[in-house]
Symmetry: C2
Subunit: 315 residues, 2 copies
C-alpha cells in the first residue's frame, strides 16, 4: 500500500450457500449491493473523510438494502418481529458505541455512531430507539423493516423443526453486514450491523453489538468486523482475541484471524471476518462455505467476492 | 496452594469511599455480607461441587443482600426503574451465559446459568425474564428490588446535577458483585451481577453482562470478574485482555490486570477485578479508592478487605 492510501472493505455476512450454487439468481443483486457499499465508504475516504464516517456510510447502505440481514430486510425472530443491533469503534480514540434490539431506527449503525462519543457504550431496547430519535435519526414503522422474503424464510425455517439458522442459508438473502476502513490520516474504524439469526428467540443477542466480539478498532493494531454464528463469536470475545494475537505474538493478521476462528469452532461456531491493519494490509478469512465481501483501495473499482477462490471487479 | 485446594473470591464493587471514612456505620454489614458470600461459595467447593455452582451461589447471596448493587437493593436508573444484568462463564467448557436488563427475576446470575449451556449466549429485556421464568426461576414484583436507600440516593444524585455515579460513592450501599472460583478438579468459573450506575439512562449496559469485558473464565489461563466504570471496561474488552496478556506475554496476573486497568484509565474509567489462576493464584488489583472483596482457600475462615492495605479475617 502507498502511504496515505485509503482502504475500505465490507462484508455482507458469512453463509452456507455451497459453491456449486454459484450461479444462483440473486447473485448479481448481492454483488451490486456490496459494490455500492464499498463505493459509499470510498466516497467518504477519497474526499478526506474519516474512517468512522466511511464505515458508517458503507454499513448504512447495506442496512437500506433489503438483500442483507440488517436494517430493512433483516431476519425475523421466531415471534415474527425484527430486532436490530449494531456497533462501531473508532481506532484513533478507541471510543465505541453499540445498540441492541432496536425496532424503530432506520439505520442502527448511525445510532451507534451517536452513542460512541458519549458517556455510555451500549443501550438496549426501546431506550436505544428513543436515544436515536432524540439525536434526530430517522424513525420508521416496523413494516419498513419487514420483507415478504423474510416472512417466507421464517415459515420455512419453522417447518424444518424450529431451529435457528444463519441468516442466509439459502440463496435469496444475505447476512450480517460490516465494514472496516483506513483513512488518509492513518486512522482505522470498524462497524457491524445485524438482524440476528433466522427464527431466533426475541431478545437473543450475538456478537454484533459487542465491542471486542463482533467489532474492534485500534489504530496501533487493526480494525475488525466479524460475521457468523454470533453466540460462538461472543463466547470467544473474537475481535479482541484477533487483535491481541497480532499485537502480543506478532502473528500476521491472517494467521491471527484463523487461530481465533479455530477457537470459535471449538465452541461450535463458524464464520469469518475482515481484518485491516494500519499499514493497509487487508485479510478476510472465513470458515463458513462463503463470506460475501468487497473492497477497494484509493479510487480503484470495487472488487467483490462470494466464495474463497473467486472475485470480480465491478467497474 | 496445595493441589486440589479450592479457592473462592468475591467482590462487592469498586467504589469511591476514601480510606479516611473507614469507620463508616455500614461497614460491618458489608463485611458480613461479603463473608456470607464467600462461605456460600466455599460450601459448594468443599463438598466437591463445581466452580460454576460456587460462583453462582456466592453471587446469588449478594444479589439477595440489599447492601449490594445487584438483585435486591440495585441502583436505580434515572427513571426510577431497576434493570439487572449478569453473566457467568465456565472455564472448563468455555460456555457462557448473560442476561441484560432483567426486571422480574430474583437472581439474575441464576438466569445466566440457565442460558449458559444453551444455544444462545445473551438475552435482553423481558425475554430474559420470560426465559428465566420458563426455567423455573423465581419471579418477583419490581417492589422487591427497590429499597428506600436507593430511592434517596437517586434523588441526591439528581440534585447534584443529573450525572451518573458509581454505585457506591457514598457509605451506605455497595456495588456490583462478582465471584471467581477454583474447584477440586481444577476447574475455574467467574460470574458478575449488577444494577448498573446510579441515575443511569434506562437501557444503558456496562461490562457486567459482556463475556470478555466483565467476566471471563478459561481453565488454561484464569477466571476474572471486573467492577468499576463499566462503559470503559466494555470499550477495552477488559477481561479478555487480562487473560490474553497472561497467556500470550507470560505476564503474571497482577501485572496483566494492572496493565489492562491502565487501558481502562485511558478511556476514562477506573475500577478493579478478581483474577484467579488454575493453580490457585489470586490477585485483586484496583485503581478506584476501594474495592470491597473477600476470599478463602479450602476451609479457611473468610478474609474481607475494603481498601488496599488492610484486611480482616471473619471467623
Amino acid at each position: 500500500m502507498t502511504a496515505g492510501q485509503t482502504v475500505i472493505a465490507v462484508h455482507g455476512g458469512a453463509g452456507q450457500l455451497p459453491r456449486r450454487q454459484r450461479e444462483y439468481p440473486g447473485r448479481k443483486g448481492v454483488e451490486l449491493g456490496i459494490a455500492a457499499a464499498v463505493r459509499a465508504g470510498q466516497q467518504v475516504l477519497t474526499k478526506g473523510g474519516s474512517a468512522v464516517r466511511a464505515v458508517a456510510a458503507a454499513v448504512a447502505v447495506m442496512e437500506d438494502n433489503e438483500l442483507f440481514n440488517a436494517g430493512r430486510g433483516a431476519a425475523l425472530c421466531t415471534d415474527g418481529t425484527v430486532e436490530l443491533s449494531a456497533s462501531i469503534m473508532n481506532g484513533r480514540t478507541r471510543a465505541a458505541g453499540a445498540m441492541v434490539g432496536l425496532k424503530r431506527t432506520r439505520n442502527p449503525v448511525l445510532a451507534a455512531v451517536e452513542l460512541m462519543d458519549h458517556a455510555h457504550c451500549l443501550l438496549f431496547g426501546s431506550q436505544g430507539d428513543a436515544y436515536a430519535a432524540a439525536a434526530g435519526l430517522e424513525q420508521v414503522s416496523s413494516e419498513y423493516f419487514h420483507t415478504k422474503y423474510r416472512e417466507r424464510q421464517l415459515q420455512r425455517q419453522k417447518k424444518r423443526g424450529d431451529s435457528t439458522a444463519l441468516d442466509h442459508n439459502d440463496e435469496s438473502a444475505h447476512g450480517t453486514v460490516g465494514a472496516v476502513a483506513l483513512d488518509r490520516r492513518g486512522n482505522l474504524a470498524a462497524a457491524t450491523s445485524t438482524g440476528g439469526l433466522v427464527n431466533q428467540l426475541a431478545g437473543r443477542v450475538g456478537d454484533t453489538p459487542v465491542i471486542g466480539a463482533g467489532t474492534w478498532a485500534d489504530n496501533r493494531i487493526c480494525a475488525i468486523s466479524a460475521t457468523g454464528k454470533g453466540d460462538a463469536f461472543a463466547r470467544v470475545a473474537f475481535a479482541r482475541r484477533v487483535a491481541d494475537l497480532i499485537e502480543l505474538t506478532g502473528a500476521d493478521p491472517q494467521a491471527a484471524a484463523l487461530a481465533a476462528l479455530r477457537e470459535v469452532e471449538i465452541v461450535k461456531g463458524e464464520g469469518g471476518c475482515l481484518v485491516l491493519t494500519a499499514n493497509g494490509q487487508l485479510t478476510m478469512p472465513f470458515t463458513s462455505p462463503q463470506m460475501v465481501r468487497g473492497w477497494a483501495a484509493g479510487r480503484d473499482a470495487p472488487t467483490v467476492a462470494l466464495w474463497a477462490d473467486e472475485s470480480v471487479v465491478l467497474d
